[in-house]
Symmetry: C2
Subunit: 251 residues, 2 copies
DNA sequence: TATTGTTTCCGTATGGCCTACGGAAATGGG
DNA sequence: CCCATTTCCGTAGGCCATACGGAAACAATA
């Protein structure tokens, strides 16, 4: 399925929802059975358990014990609901501004990674046209403040920011991909690779792939630990090297 | 929509398709109206034009002038078809092993980026449980050979490999996200941001976001060029810094 | 209490998706 | 001409988002 995205709906309405612009309680009329917060919470719960693909309007309504169409009274549509979900979980990062600029970027990366771990469906939410809510904005402010303290020129800060942001979201996404697939398909990554043992037996050609063969023979793949642990190690390594490079590029 | 993925179908069947294991022509029986190659080509064409979300079995069959169910004679299901599509476009990279290890990694990144540019739907294809076909494998061999020439220890090569791979696919994905959304929603990135001018007017709080405000005032966002050009610049910067870091880490 | 205005709830219907099943159609050999 | 074999594909079941419009609930008023 393609990346889920914010609708072309009225931006003002979506922004009001993202920032929960308070509106005076209606004096007359039927009392609502559900609130926006309840809908968002229920939607996140469904997506956490069964993936974004299973998060249908009908499924969320069922979870709340209301009719499907009732949701549309509180939320413009599914795309906007996903925006609300994304911003809500980004708020869970709870960033504390302590330490050097580098430690703060690493903290930001760790917290963002934790969000993806807790909510693997974030992999499927595009951050190119992001939900302009408090969750996203607070995060941007945090990293930009850290990078601005690094000594980079203002113009360089914005460039470095895109690179860091890309790495963090990209790496977090690929790291949780595995879990998400395990959850939705019911097959773990290890089992999946195991079932493809046939590949190494029947298709891998040592003459066509000398570098891989050499690495294999050198024991480069004799690793302890699970697939997830190895990905995490690589994630830390990659971010460290990227920050090394940014630091070194200032001279 | 959630990431599209390979089915739990018979791995042997999928691998045979990926490597196009030749099978002796059937002596008897009805002649096929379409081939696997034709199906994959048509599916790629549809996805290129209208996104992976529009690439339905019915749509592909229509493109080929056959009934929907006829496709299932040649391809196990939609998930496997997506694997075949992904491996096919990865083969377009056509990697030439020239230059220093660093130039080769950069060449790999450029060619992979070109694939995403030409086929934006690749953003929606998970690379965690990748199609183990020639397109993927040749690419892996190419980068691993380059990294192995860098002087890193074998064990370090595999770690660096995951980091580079993550950066390349992640950055390429976020770079094409914008184009893909422009194509499927009919709204360009610039127009989308324009419609959200309201945000800066009504919601942005200079006291809550001092770092962003300072950068803005310092002219860090007074950039010429389009959104796409800026993303490309950041991509190059990020990869350079990552490779700087890898190079520096060897000492 | 009955009416009225307002708001929310939600059943129905439309048009899409994947794919299991099984019969029809085509083909070449005996 | 028959028949085994292979491919083609119509039907049907069970999902999805959401436009529309009427029913139901509620507060204020008469």
């Amino acid at each position: 399925m393609a990346a889920e995205r914010s609708g072309g709906g009225d931006p003002a309405r979506t922004l009001a929802l993202l920032w929960r612009t308070p509106q005076e309680p209606k004096p007359v009329g039927r009392k609502p059975k559900v609130s926006v917060d309840q809908i968002v919470t229920a939607a996140i719960a469904v997506a956490d358990r069964e993936g974004l693909g299973a998060m249908s309007m009908a499924r969320v309504a069922q979870e709340l014990g209301v009719g499907t169409m009732s949701l549309y009274t509180h939320v413009p549509g599914k795309a906007e609901l996903i925006d609300l979900m994304a911003d809500a979980v980004l708020q869970e990062r709870d960033l504390v501004p302590e330490g050097t600029w580098r430690e703060r970027v690493q903290h930001y990366a760790d917290r963002t990674r934790a969000v993806y771990q807790a909510h693997p469906w974030m992999r499927d939410v595009s951050m190119v046209r992001p939900p302009l809510g408090p969750g996203l904005m607070d995060g941007q402010e945090f990293v930009l403040a850290a990078l601005a303290d690094s000594g980079l020129e203002p113009r360089q800060v914005t460039v470095a920011h895109v690179a860091v942001e890309g790495f963090v979201h990209g790496a977090a996404a690929s790291e949780v991909d595995d879990q998400q697939l395990a959850a939705t398909t019911g097959e773990s990554g290890d089992s999946w690779w195991g079932a493809r043992q046939v590949f190494w037996d029947d298709y891998f050609d040592v003459e066509r792939y000398p570098a891989m063969t050499a690495l294999w023979n050198a024991g480069a793949y004799d690793t302890e630990g699970t697939l997830a642990e190895n990905m995490h190690r690589s994630w830390n390594y990659g971010l460290d090297r990227l920050l090394d490079g940014i630091e070194g590029g200032m001279r």
